[in-house]
């Protein structure tokens, strides 16, 4: 029997953004193939923006993904400004950072409390969890709401921001809004302590430690790191990292670095930038029992909790500084159409996000390339699924399914994001 071939199939991953499944084939205890099947329909955004004027781009590409809509809009705006040689004000940069922090806070809180926490506590959903532990779920919802309020006040809307435009912001926040934000962030700081305490009480999950390549931004360079070995890439050379290929059964692209899978996201950021830890974040690292650099992908959950501390502290310091120094009314910098190319790389909640546009003389887009974190993570997820299955003492389907699903969710995949380009090539999947 040990040599018989079997297939483990997770038809439809729950509690993730978008539609995908997992197929693992085994011969006895040996894993033959692992596939992350992404069957979210293809959405062809790179085609959709071609022929659009530069001022239309951010509102279109934000629709790639709701959870990371601010990152997509911002990446497009930054790429446009680079191509058109626009320098924005210090105030614009501060507000953009604040809006982006809001998105990261919302996304991490959503993932940790509503999507991942039920795994550890053995509940099907946060709604079911709320029946027994209402204060825990309410804490998560309050942190999530804080992120949304930041995006609403600065970006004009929690999903698909409208107020951030090439050149700056159409409308600046009022002093009263800033004072309210300060108060909310102070409350958020306390909530964050409670969140870290809650997450540190969850049962440990360490079943797929494996040598892993990580990639994240450090200052404005992409750093790729495995163990002590590092390599730096300038944003313009991102294709070294993202030689995207489409998997056999998937509508999404995936990336390899020198033929190896790599992981992006919160854990990659902390592993690559241990110096970014504030005193509060360091305390959270210790409380969570996280030892950096960690090669346990399940630690991405803990890394998000540590980042919540960093994000809220940073947002609070920006808001305090703005309140102290005040700001002058200012119109966005005028952007004049200019032919050329612009690349922007930023850290979206789930990891590196790259937008690249080429414009013609009149400012219309002739070429676009968008590389999303989940497209980069796809190969790494498959690598870790394989490790988890191989290392598992029990090969019972229920045990394997639980481990693989937990692992998939720890990556916080965003499957809508990952299918932005490739023409649908439907697998004959029914059922």
């Amino acid at each position: 029997m040990t040599n018989s071939t079997s297939t483990l199939r997770i038809e439809h991953l729950a509690r993730v953004e978008g539609h995908g499944g997992i197929t693992i084939t085994m011969k006895g205890d040996q894993v033959l193939h692992v596939w992350l099947d992404i069957f979210e329909g293809s959405r062809l955004f790179e085609t959709l923006v071609r022929g659009r004027r530069f001022d239309e781009a951010s509102q279109i590409v934000s629709r790639i993904c709701s959870i990371c809509s601010t990152s997509h809009a911002l990446a497009a705006i930054l790429a446009i400004e680079r191509a058109m040689h626009v320098e924005v004000s210090a105030l614009t940069n501060a507000l953009r950072e604040l809006m982006h922090l809001g998105e990261n806070i919302e996304s991490h809180a959503l993932h940790l409390f509503l999507l991942a926490a039920p795994d550890y506590l053995d509940y099907p959903s946060a709604i079911a969890l709320a029946a027994d532990k209402p204060s825990l779920v309410k804490l998560g919802l309050r942190l999530k709401n804080l992120g949304n309020v930041l995006q609403e006040v600065i970006g004009g809307r929690a999903i698909h921001p409208v107020n951030a435009i090439p050149g700056g912001f159409a409308r600046l926040p009022t002093i009263q809004q800033m004072l309210d934000l300060r108060q909310r962030l102070e409350q958020g700081r306390e909530d964050c302590q409670a969140a870290v305490a809650m997450l540190s009480s969850l049962p440990p999950a360490d079943f797929c430690h494996a040598s892993t390549v990580f990639a994240a931004l450090r200052d404005s360079s992409i750093v790729v790191k495995e163990g002590a070995v590092e390599e730096q890439l300038e944003p313009g050379c991102y294709r070294t990292l993202t030689n995207e290929e489409k998997g056999p059964f998937s509508n999404a692209k995936r990336s390899l670095y020198r033929d190896r899978p790599f992981m992006v996201g919160a854990l990659a950021r902390l592993n690559i930038n241990p110096g970014s830890l504030t005193a509060g974040a360091q305390a959270a690292v210790e409380q969570l029992g996280l030892s950096l650099a960690s090669c346990n992908p399940m630690d991405n959950n803990k890394a998000q909790a540590v980042e919540l501390v960093i994000l809220i502290d940073r947002a609070l310091s920006i808001v305090r500084e703005l309140i102290e120094e005040g700001w002058q009314a200012q119109a966005p910098v005028a952007v004049r159409a200019h032919p050329g190319n612009g690349v922007a790389v930023l850290e979206a909640p789930r990891g590196l996000l790259i937008h690249n546009y080429t414009f013609d003389q009149a400012g219309y887009i002739t070429e676009a390339d968008v590389v999303t974190p989940t497209a980069m993570n796809a190969a790494s997820m498959e690598h870790h699924f394989r490790v988890a299955v191989e290392r598992s003492d029990s090969k019972e389907p229920a045990v394997l399914t639980r481990k693989v699903e937990m692992l998939a969710r720890a990556y916080d995949p965003c499957l809508s994001c990952s299918v932005h380009l490739i023409q649908a090539n439907e697998r004959g999947r029914t059922g």
Partner: protein, 225 residues
């Protein structure tokens, strides 16, 4: 007392309308106490995928065969099917590359537009459905709401391309109120006259190509829910 059963589903989309439901942070637990949520894959790993549903909320558009199969199955088990958001109602942002609205395959009982849906409009509509009322959603243009906000007209006074006159209200003129022209994300109003709109915009110096492109970003001009 038994509560009405509900399912929340996403076809191909950015998941922003489901996320808008999860963004009702203050109301989420109350929604759960008024409705029996049986099938909500984005939020729960245990779902009843075959029970009859009093209410089905479906976001996204049909891009793949799988989307259509999924949608037909939802329709077959649901009393009331609500198309949630502009992708579901009009095809949405990806329609130029073939995405189709729900009504192309099934009967839709209520259409709630928006990209994403407006939280308050959504909550009011659900509350009305729970009380057996038919929700009344505005069909007049964004301009009506923009006037109420006492905004300067971006089209007439600043000469900027604003889709407000042809776009369905319900957002309280969110974009023009921030000084950003409307991009038409809620789809066309009921009584839009495409020929006269094109003429009006041409008179303001916008080329027919630009007019068609910008007005058609989220829905075909003149489409009805």
């Amino acid at each position: 007392m038994t509560h009405p059963t509900m399912g929340i589903f996403g076809l191909t989309s950015c998941a922003g309308c489901q996320l808008s439901i999860l963004n009702c942070e203050d109301e989420l637990l109350a929604i759960h106490s008024a409705l029996d949520i049986r099938d909500f894959l984005m939020a729960s790993s245990i779902n009843d995928t075959s029970c009859p549903l009093d209410l089905a909320l479906v976001e996204g558009s049909m891009v793949s065969k799988l989307d259509e199969t999924h949608l037909r199955r939802i329709r077959a088990r649901s009393k009331t099917l609500v198309a949630l958001g502009t992708c579901a109602v009009f095809g949405g942002i990806a329609r130029e590359t073939g995405a189709r609205p729900l009504k192309d395959a099934v009967k839709v009982d209520l259409a709630i537009p928006g990209c994403p849906i407006e939280k308050q409009e959504f909550l009011t509509a659900i509350a009305m459905l729970l009380h057996g009322d038919a929700p009344l959603l505005p069909e007049y243009p964004v301009c009506a709401e923009c006037r109420m906000q006492e905004n300067n007209c971006l089209l007439n006074e600043e000469g900027r391309f604003c889709c407000g006159p042809l776009t369905r209200a319900g957002c309280h003129a969110l974009c023009p109120s921030q000084g950003v022209p409307c991009v038409g994300c809620r789809g066309p109003t009921r009584e839009v006259n495409p020929a006269s709109a094109a003429k009006m915009l041409e008179g303001k110096g916008f080329s027919p190509g630009e007019t068609a492109r910008r007005l058609g970003t989220f829905a075909p001009l003149g489409a009805t829910p």
